[in-house]
Amino acid sequence: MEYQELLHRCFRCGWCKLPLNFVDINCPAYMTYRFESFSPGGRLWLIRAWLQGDVEMSDRFREIIFSCATCKNCVEACALPKIKDNLVDIVIAARNEIVQTGKLPGPVRDYLMRVYDTGNPYGKPQADRLRWTDGLDVPLYRDQEFLLFIGDVGAFDESGMEMARNVAKALQLAGVSFGIMGEEEISDGNDVYALGEKDLFKHLAERLMKGFGDRGVKKIIALSPHSYNAFKNYYAAAGGKIDVLHFSHLLALKLSNINGGTLQARVTFHDPCYLGRWNNDYNACRSVLGGIRGIELAEMERNRANSLCCGGGGGNFFTAMLGSGPDSPSRHRVREALDTGADILAVACPICRKMLEDAVKDESAEDSIRVRDIAGIVLEAAGAWH
């Protein structure tokens, strides 16, 4: 297995379970299961045990390996440099080994099969990818400055679709010239990669790269931080030359184009892992929120590099291995947001949006806090909401 030679170097000291400021457990998988085996170090020791034949491949073993949300808190906090640099890659490599065996946990197998068969994890017809545009005037990409890449959740999930509409409207309001791929868009492969299916990822990436090339796309705006990460890091590493921004970057740049407005609200911002820890961007969304009159930004105790993942990363949004119980990361996160006294929990990722919306309902906190994406907040302030 790739990285095998590093495994014995993990001390299982557990720094990786906490954020840098120690506020509370910050590994979503360990937070949910609470057994040492589900902590980052425990996982590494078990991978080594498996490779040495000390434990066998079992359903439990697969559950341990696939419950990691690839949120990179452990990478931030790990004490030992060599392990720290490669922690999540090691987990992905182990998943890749399991993929090779062909014996995957049911939800992981189903997810990958659907992407393979239909180009999206919902198993829906590609024609449905345009449903979110109903009632909107969103052109297909021709020669606009940007391609707006919607991603699977933005195209198929009800909450994600609402976010896609918000982002499109906010970008239009800001005067950004963009078009979409519509039915030709397929899964970006970020979470396929995170689940260790590197061949399927390669196939998706090649198809998308061709699609971009055929259209002469030069610059992409990603709705989802997951797509942003794939294009920026994986496609680029595979030789794909793409100039990609997350939609928050453009809103931060162009906010002055929108005739501002005011929103009297106390807002707390939830950093998405694939924007924050994966790509070291903690400022764009805060700068958008900071640019709106009336917003008072109240940080959660775990913010920026210490942020708690919503639990939907690494394919978990689709495989639901971390569940939605009171100990799930999204429920913890909502309780943390409530502690700030904020009226709005701001998000910048369609997966976080859906996970946290559900968690607000599960916590019966709908009267105290509402989840809003950054673009929706911009629209609300500008009086262009709905």
Partner: protein, 460 residues
């Protein structure tokens, strides 16, 4: 075990019981050099009542129970030597109370050092507790159960077990008891003036019961801290340096580091002195007094205070020190274990030369040092051996070095701390028979079926 598993699930909930090979594997071993041994089940209780129910069941079935906190003791004390149930306490993670005026906190038995630190920083920024340099997921209860020590052990009254203001514990027969002021009145402020029963759970390695709540002293947190580094050419003067500096009562923490690595440090022990203050004037005054106390040495010998650039200071200041965990990577092998010896400060030079001899004999990488406890009443001298988990020969040699260090400590007049089971036997062999008998009587009275962490403190 099948039937018991079902009952355990009824007590704590299905998702918090496991007898899977994966959990058995992880809970069968720690980071150190002791032989692994599988538990029959791992159980994660969420409340005192759940702990009580598990213990009653274990008693009925004569199944061993091993309490575990962070599992970071390194010396195998949470390895279930005779199988049974490992009780991972970390779901009991509530901070129950902080009494700002009387400066104590009450926490559940699975609260970690890091989480308490963070909580105090946010809500009680003028207070702190004494942190060990263990990784921050180590628990308060696990640490006092082995007489741990830390950053305020020098200045604020010794071992962390001495900072305990009260306990709630579940006895090996399942009753929950409260010890200290909390047994009689609502506050958890003191163990005196009552008969001190808390000692029945401190230093016993979880063999007398399970700590489910703990009151721990908090201390004022000065606004500033600084570090002085005194370098000497000889370990022989360290005891007197420590004596003089502790005599000033100006230092918060004092740690001697005697390291064969890096090479340039070999033969140049350093003394790290942490000073805290609330103003520049106070800091200057304290530093001045400390300097003055050892003037005799730096004027007459080749030794003195080293200039410390800011980036270096940050390596020494703050708690817990992350760099200590990095010692596990010295051999690029993810492992270290240390003998911590509680011994009088004047034994330091002897401990150093014994340590160097042992390391050389077994060809192992050793780092040594000592944290001063109290005003030099004693010290925790450590011989830390880094090993490579992928190199069996290296691990075997490190294990031999540890065993020999335990014996050398006892010969020098010290006592190995948190000793591995074989090290405990070395201690017991030197112990007065009357003391052993008393320990045995207490154990059999509290734990008639011998279910609590068997294999530890087993005085024969």
């Amino acid at each position: 075990m099948e039937g018991i598993l079902k009952e355990l699930e009824d007590i704590v909930g299905r998702r918090y019981v496991s007898a899977s090979p994966e959990e058995k594997y992880i809970y069968s071993r720690d980071q150190g050099l002791q032989e692994p041994h599988d538990p029959d089940a791992v159980v994660l209780p969420g409340s005192t009542e759940e702990v009580q129910a598990v213990i009653r069941l274990a008693n009925r079935e004569r199944v061993p129970v091993v309490p575990m906190g962070g599992g970071l003791v390194l010396s195998g004390l949470t390895i279930p030597q005779k199988g049974g149930i490992v009780l991972d306490m970390k779901r009991m993670n509530r901070i129950i109370e902080v009494n700002e005026t009387s400066r104590y906190a009450v926490v559940e038995g699975g609260v970690s050092q890091g989480v308490l630190k963070a909580y105090l920083e946010r809500r009680h920024p003028g207070l702190k507790h004494s942190l060990p340099d263990a990784p921050p997921v180590a628990t308060i209860a696990g640490n006092v159960a082995i007489h741990g020590s830390g950053h305020l052990s020098q200045s604020e009254g010794g071992f962390h077990s001495e900072m305990v203001t009260g306990l709630e514990a579940v006895l090996p027969t399942g009753e929950a008891v409260r010890l200290g002021s909390c047994s009689t009145v609502p506050g958890w402020f003191s163990r005196a003036p009552l008969p001190d029963l808390a000692g029945l759970f401190l230093g016993w390695n979880g063999t007398t019961g399970i700590i489910t709540k703990i009151g721990i002293k908090l201390f004022p947190k000065p606004k500033m801290e600084d570090i002085l580094v005194y370098m000497t050419g000889s370990v022989d003067i360290l005891p007197d340096l420590i004596y003089r500096i502790t005599g000033t009562e100006m230092a918060e923490d004092m740690v001697a580091a005697i390291s064969p690595k890096p090479d340039w440090l070999r033969g140049f022990p350093i003394l790290l002195i942490t000073v805290t203050a609330n103003s520049e004037e106070e800091m200057a005054m304290k530093v001045g007094i400390i300097r003055e106390s050892v003037r005799h040495y730096y004027q007459t010998m080749e030794s003195g205070f080293m200039p410390v650039p800011p980036y270096m200071k940050s390596q020494f200041l703050g708690a817990p020190l992350k760099d200590l965990s990095k010692f596990a990577d010295v051999m690029k092998g993810g492992g270290f274990e240390y003998v911590g010896s509680i011994m009088p400060v004047e034994k330091l030079p002897g401990a150093c030369s014994a340590g160097l001899d042992i390391a050389e004999k077994h060809r192992v990488t050793c780092s040594m040092g000592a944290r001063v406890i109290g005003r030099g009443h004693c010290m925790m001298f450590f011989n830390a051996y880094a090993f490579n988990r992928a190199d069996e020969d290296n691990m075997a040699r490190s294990a031999l070095a540890l065993e020999e260090t335990n014996r050398a400590t006892l010969e020098l007049g010290g006592i190995p701390w948190k000793a591995e089971a074989p090290g405990q036997q070395d201690i017991l062999r030197k112990m007065e028979p009357g003391t052993i008998q008393l320990m045995n009587r207490i154990r059999s009275l509290l734990d008639p079926n011998g279910i609590m962490n068997p294999g530890n403190w087993e005085a024969r």
